[in-house]
Symmetry: C2
Subunit: 319 residues, 2 copies
């Protein structure tokens, strides 16, 4: 059936070809194909606050139906990918970092991969430069959690601090877990290495519901990690949720909120958190920026069937 | 209910504020908010062909529930907008122009508004420059139809030809209509003015199913205008449909294919065309670039309820 229909489109190709071109058309010299994508940053406003989402590239996961979702079989995962017109041979997991410029503060939420985790990731620095964001002007970095793709951008490849003037604000539950004895050894060493170049008096541990700047407060969303925290940005009557990893890829985790990806440390708590937050955001029509949603990664959730559709906010040239 | 839930998110704001900042954080001078959006171009590949979608801004239509859809009442239009998380007070209709670089030809599909139609439109030229596209290297311009937002970019404000080396390829049915006596007088005069600066021997009239370049052929999609034509781009095993105005905004016309917008000249034929093309593209999983879809405006249609969902192709930094 599919072949027949494709053939019916392609039948148009059998139509008569053009005759020779007029002289004018011959003069246009071929242009080399461009290799560049447009810079991966996207600006929008939340009240008087300016939000800039900066893309840090992606990690290509081969065979996403195998070993990624703990409680769904391969056929179900492949069906979900096919329904969203995605390939089944790989799944690109993107990284999107949020900056909020309040007018007097420049606040960064998580720090990306630092170019340390995948050859296709680490574009954040070029995209920050394209957006005119100076890392020396970041005065606060707020963390959702301490997985490697969120904390590695703290440091250069040589292990130096990338943000010379930033206070680091961390959920105290998250800090206590990774610095404590229950944490798995290797990732805990990674976390300590990323925070290491920053003096202890520049790291502030706060409750997951603390206000971290005027109109910006934590929303406890534990489960993905023990201290995972989302943030609600409010300015005037406008709001935006910085989601972090309440979901991984939306086709996996929003469309199927009951699916448990391998990175969820307490999968049952992560699922309960996901459903609670999305039910609330859907009822309120609150926009969300999702760390692993396709760039520009700002959208809305809407209940649909057993899960949620993510409705992308339309791109606009008007900020 | 909505207010209660919003309040429950905002309750986090009552949490204790931060104490004074450490000295380091005080050193970060505030950064001015940026006024720029990233350039509106998006690159992807169809086989060996490079496709660049260039945004030309948008027209803001006030009160889209009134006078835009001929055969739906205001309440139904507002419900459709609300379901897609869009405002009801206005609807931004975007303009997205497609360039195909085959390696030896640089082919443009339609020409945008030329900055002549709305104060928020006319960004195509800046975005072309950002993408490194030289108008003098465009050797063919292929038209879907002759409405003002598709042909006005042919000329400068002073009425000069913008594309010195391009052959203009036009559907012969469209040309015959607008140059003939049945066409409404004012828009026909506009059309003649846009093509006027181009010598007659640079304008080629072809059948709506003609091949216009290797692997690129017309697909007759009459209805929106008498000679409206879409194009199928094929390279290797990859394909892309350049849709033109088979739909206006997808919330209006894909979600609701039976709705007739005021610009459809033969609305019944336009609807039949839309359903036929979308049924085929959905079955084939053929990607589509929609002139009035939100930028980057490449996606897939999928039957859903009485209409079609548009599933955006995920943005990627890998071309």
């Amino acid at each position: 059936m599919s072949v027949t229909r494709r053939t019916s489109i392609a039948a148009a190709l059998a139509a008569p070809a053009l005759a020779t071109l007029p002289a004018a058309a011959q003069q246009a010299a071929p242009q080399a194909q461009g290799s560049r994508q447009a810079p991966g940053f996207y600006r929008s406003k939340v009240g008087t606050y300016e939000v800039t989402v900066v893309n840090d590239g992606f990690n290509r996961r081969p065979n996403p139906a195998e070993g990624f979702v703990r409680n769904a079989d391969a056929a179900a995962v492949n069906r979900a990918l096919e329904a969203e017109m995605l390939p089944t041979g790989h799944l690109d997991i993107t990284f999107n970092i949020t900056f909020v410029n309040t007018g007097s503060e420049l606040i960064l939420f998580d720090t990306g991969t630092g170019g340390l985790l995948a050859p296709t990731a680490g574009t954040m620095w070029d995209n920050m430069a394209a957006a005119g964001i100076d890392p020396a002007r970041v005065n606060k970095i707020v963390f959702t959690h301490f997985h490697g793709d969120h904390v590695s951008g703290l440091v250069t490849r040589e292990g130096q601090a990338r943000f010379p003037n930033a206070e680091l604000i961390v959920p105290e539950t998250e800090w206590a877990f990774w610095m404590g004895e229950r944490a798995p050894q290797q990732p805990a060493a990674m976390v300590k290495g990323r925070f290491g170049p920053y003096a202890a008096d520049r790291i502030r541990r706060v409750a997951s519901n603390a206000e971290v700047a005027p109109g910006i407060a934590g929303v406890p969303t534990h489960g993905h990690t023990p201290g995972h925290t989302s943030y609600l940005i409010s300015s005037g009557s406008s709001t935006l949720i910085v989601l972090g990893d309440v979901t991984n890829h939306p086709t996996i985790n929003a469309r199927n909120p009951g699916w448990h990806v391998v990175f969820d440390m307490d999968a049952a708590e992560a699922e309960a958190t996901r459903r609670r937050l999305f039910d609330r955001a859907a009822a309120d029509r609150t926009p969300i920026v999702g760390y692993h949603w396709p760039f520009p990664s700002i959208g809305y959730v809407r209940p649909q069937g057993n899960g949620y559709d993510v409705i992308a906010a339309p791109w606009t040239s008007a900020i």
